[in-house]
Assembly symmetry: C2
DNA sequence: TTGTATGCGTTATCAT
DNA sequence: ATGATAACGCATACAA
């Protein structure tokens, strides 16, 4: 009883159980071992409240059981949700998540690649906007929403179908004259397909379509000017709006409020993402919901999958529509 | 050039530089070493793009350079912000964060304590609602918003001052008759002081005060009944509301909208937390802003501080008021 | 089947 | 000042 070991090791367990070190290891890893020995070891484990040191384990295996998640921030509710589900999916597989919030900053994204090296992560899941991110060939990478390279799988929502769905929903709800509102990084990423899908849907349902696309530098207030341009004696020309994200929808709805245009009476609004205020039950707006938890699962699954051969280049997951008070239903 | 080592080790560097292993270690750790040797080692490090394996380092030092963050979720924007800043503060000190989202579930909180053991974290930062959380005596713990035990530091906003500030602000803006709205876990935690501070402020400024406190089971819609009870010919008796969180404020404002009571014309509303929609510039409502980044820094500082003796039992950080459209200013 | 010895990447103690 | 060596906790190939 001289030195009370703060956290017991396999050696302590072996000593306690009166068996050899190797035997303990086998029991821990579920390898075949004599019944009597196993019981004694298990007792000792319980008695000492022993837990394997997964870092030492990793050292042996040349793995760290850690995956990095590269993401702009945790403030955007969509990202926050992604963080949550990816973390959970990793933990379930006894992996740790190294959270790297880049703040849309390319410099930071590169910096994190370094941290990633220092931490010897086993893989990286990245939602990144850096057009020319230089990443290690050797380390597994799964991209969200953006195709990054020939052998790097990309996971995204079915953005095209989502755009289409928005058009159909607006048509079903009686809209005739709709607008598509988007603020876009010029990078081509999967979410860009929302536009194509929406156009396609409008065509199919004979909706008149106007588009307003803000480019990198332009302030979001440009949308207000856009609306004013399409106003005739106080009434907006459009009866439906499809905003490329819930965030845009949120800003747009505020603008409409200031202009005394009622939502959904005068104009119906559909967003994209499925963001909930405070993570609680209700949506900010009627919206196309991304299957965040499925996206997370898929990313982790692909990342940890051993065989490179079976990794598909692009996985699109189905979206759903949800009512959030900004449409007539 | 036979086997191309995927990630170089100290040994490789030593070989490359033609020096002994120990020498490399010293250079890496900034210990004194001959100038010529140092240069050769540094060259080799650059050439091989060597990074220390912090897990092996940890194995020697019996540290993991990992701290766990126990928090209900990342969906609530206030928590999301906390996650972001704590992660950043840890990373700055070359620590990793193990994110443990408990979903307000006591069972999960305990489960994570186990994961925490398996992962041999060096410390825990916890924002937890488990009244009788059983935690290891041996591992450093810093609590957010709740005093948990005699030797466990607690970090929080100055909630009392925040409550006071809300009362003063409402008084300054012309309110005479105000209400305090709270939904409360019965647990006594620092945020409860918001009530005391507000009462204090109302007294000082001669405001008539009504309180409505929802208990654990009651649905938030109870507030709507409360309002209807204090309605006389369509006008609300109150001209100011202090909601204990921005979330409550958000829900309350929606209710008021349905009742055709205008904010801030008919009634002004102040929340608490300083939550921003989508993490962008503007606040959901006029609010008392918690200094999230300071809280995060303080937690990490206290956690990693060696000397137990100098750890204060409770640290309260100053709050500020921010306009968010739901007050007359 | 069980036990022993070696090595994973580092650091620290010791001779040199 | 520099270099060899042991030890950290664990897994495993090999010997008993």
């Amino acid at each position: 009883m001289r030195k009370k070991n703060p956290t017991p090791t396999m050696k302590d367990v072996a000593l306690e159980a009166g068996v050899a070190l190797g035997t303990v290891s086998k029991v821990i890893n579920g390898l075949p071992v004599g019944e009597a020995y196993r019981l004694r070891v298990e007792d000792a484990v319980k008695k000492l409240d022993y837990h394997v040191n997964s870092y030492a384990q990793g050292l042996k295996a040349s793995k760290t059981y850690t995956a990095a998640l590269l993401i702009p921030n945790t403030s955007n509710p969509f990202f926050a949700k992604l963080v949550h589900y990816i973390n959970t999916a990793l933990l379930k597989r006894r992996y740790r998540m190294l959270l790297c919030t880049t703040d849309y900053d390319s410099r930071m994204e590169q910096e994190y690649i370094t941290i990633t090296k220092q931490n010897k992560v086993d893989g990286i899941i990245g939602l990144t906007y850096n057009p020319n991110l230089h990443l290690e060939e050797t380390i597994p990478f799964v991209s969200i929403d953006r195709s990054i390279g020939p052998h790097i799988p990309c996971v995204a929502s079915d953005n095209f179908a989502g755009g289409q769905m928005a058009a159909e929903k607006l048509a079903d709800l009686g809209c005739k004259n709709v607008a598509f509102l988007r603020v876009g990084s010029s990078l081509d990423s999967e979410p860009n397909k929302r536009k194509a899908g929406f156009e396609n849907g409008c065509l199919a349902r004979d909706l008149i379509l106007t588009e307003k696309i803000l480019h990198d530098g332009e302030p979001i207030s440009e949308f207000e000017d856009f609306f004013r341009k399409h106003l005739s004696d106080g009434k907006l020309k459009f009866d439906g709006l499809f905003c490329v994200t819930d965030y845009i929808a949120y800003e747009v709805i505020k603008m409409l409020g200031k202009m005394d245009i009622r939502v959904p009476e005068d104009v119906q609004v559909i967003g994209f993402d499925g963001v909930q205020a405070f993570g609680s039950g209700d949506y900010f707006c009627s919206t196309i919901v991304q299957p965040v938890s499925d996206i997370a699962e898929m990313c982790v699954e692909l990342l940890l999958q051993e065989s490179m051969s079976t990794k598909p280049p692009l996985v699109c997951l189905p979206v759903t529509y949800a009512y959030g008070g900004t449409t007539k239903e």
